[in-house]
């Protein structure tokens, strides 16, 4: 019996933990710290039919959609912000190459929290009076509380098969952290998913977690697999170690104006662009 379980795996082996048809939750927040090396690996592995949960994302979603990996997208916001709209996402949505299930930040989080808590739904006032609820009445529905008469939205439990998040450092046992600890949506994904994969800029010794235990973001027992992925968030930011790569975002958008040019650009930087999701 080993002294401590070693949860390290290579990027390709980690990608193989996401079979076709899985529900995959993608970490990160807009231009910040998405597990991009992992997304690229999924595109290259030709994974198909994912149900992708990406609360506020951009490039990661666009790569997976462009790679033809996605069947359905559950999202709050998909954007490159000041760099414009996500081109693969936009085209795929407009050509119905993917099914887009529009949620909102908080209702998605509530649905994840319901799964975590093992209850049928989480209640919230968010979403009342919007057109969002009618898009997925099997997953979000309005309730009038019998006792108080108060209305709320019930967000049905949504459990990802796999969550992938990117961090600065992890040890082989699965302890993981960012500097500073900015976990945002990632915590909710990690808590909810059946299987949790962490990609890390570097693997460090467990003792370095013992030296600063208040900095740890995810405890070993919450993480199933650890992948060493230096610059694994690129072109999103892994602040303060590196910022988002604005040049890449601009070049991506420039290339996206022409389909052939974009296929070459995408192949070079990501992987094969799927015909089902033309740029």
């Amino acid at each position: 019996m080993p002294a401590h379980e070693d949860k390290r795996v290579g990027l390709a082996d980690a990608a193989a933990l996401v079979p076709a048809g899985s529900t995959l939750a993608l970490g990160g927040l807009s231009l910040n710290c998405s597990p991009m090396a992992f997304c690229r690996e999924l595109v290259r592995a030709g994974v198909r039919d994912l149900e992708l949960v990406a609360v506020v994302n951009g490039m990661g979603t666009d790569w997976l959609v462009g790679g033809g990996c996605v069947r359905r997208l559950l999202m709050g916001l998909t954007s490159f912000e000041g760099f414009g709209l996500a081109p693969n996402f936009r085209r795929a949505a407009q050509t119905k190459a993917i099914e887009v299930e529009e949620w909102s930040e908080h209702t998605l989080i509530c649905a994840l929290q319901a799964a975590t808590a093992g209850v049928p739904y989480m209640p919230t006032r968010a979403g009342l009076g919007t057109d969002m609820l009618a898009l997925h009445p099997h997953r979000t529905w309005e309730v009038v509380d019998e006792r108080s008469g108060q209305r709320f939205v019930a967000c049905g439990a949504l459990q990802p098969d796999v969550a992938v998040v990117h961090v600065h450092e992890a040890d082989r046992r699965g302890n993981a952290r960012m500097h500073p600890k900015l976990v945002w949506f990632d915590t909710e994904l990690v808590k909810a998913a059946k299987t949790v994969i962490v990609t890390a800029e570097r693997i460090v010794e467990t003792d370095s977690f013992r030296a600063a235990p208040e900095a740890t973001a995810f405890p070993s027992f919450a993480v199933d697999h650890v992948v060493e992925a230096p610059r694994g968030a690129w072109p999103t930011a892994c602040w303060p170690e590196y910022g988002y790569d604005g040049d890449f975002y601009r070049a991506y958008q420039q290339a996206a104006r022409d389909r052939d040019a974009f296929a070459a650009f995408f192949a070079e930087h990501v992987g094969p662009l799927a015909t089902g999701a033309p740029a």
Binding site: T78, Q94, E102, I109, L128, G129, V183
Partner: protein
Amino acid sequence: MSDYELDELVVAALAREFPDDTVAFNGAVSFVPVCALMLARATHSPNLVWVAGSIAVDPQPTEIPESTLVSTLWDGATMLQSSVADFWAYAQSGRLNSFCFRGAQMDAHGNVNNTVIGAYDEPKIRLPGGGGMADLGCLVPRIYLWSTTHDTRTFVERLDFRSGLGWGDGGDHRERLGLSGGPVACVTNLAVLDFHPESRRMRLRSVHPGVSVEDVVAATGFELVIEGDVPETPAPSAEEVQLIRTLDPTGARRREFAAAR
């Protein structure tokens, strides 16, 4: 306009809407609100708390980058709010009391669409999505709207999709849903608007220098409430203009004007 640009007028007009007890946070692609919040804090509302990207409390950034959700905005913050659960708690309890919305479409009651143009299932244009709009429209008591494209494509009689709730169907609709507050004002590239206290329909409060009431009416796809003489939006003061240029030295605020369709 001689001593100031339109973007500065819009920023200054929005900033004036924020009282001293404002605790505001910003979402994605919110260059004008970020600029306006910083301006308000530097002028008439010194106690205003701005939470950058819902993460960094009371930051003192030196410039505004290509995203309003990234670390460049977090410099000098008193807190980095790591927990999305804590953030949403404060948004739900009313401690975070103010948020700014912008949409590809807005209707007379301040409801907003940022999801699709066309039918949801057959979109002509797929937009980035509502993000937190569907949440915050319900939860945050003071919603401020802004637009840099005041035209009949943006200000429409009927939204293609209601991503974010404003005053809903108007009147007491929010009360009937059990929600408090609602949109306070709407600042555009043409005018400043608010909402009639009973019908909750958009009301013309002032027109920007060089813009006529008729211009605004023509640029609006629904009937505006117009009561008596409509004054002119005060121009930003020299101090305000100077502050805006200092707070946003790279002119991030102008991205929204450039991005006008």
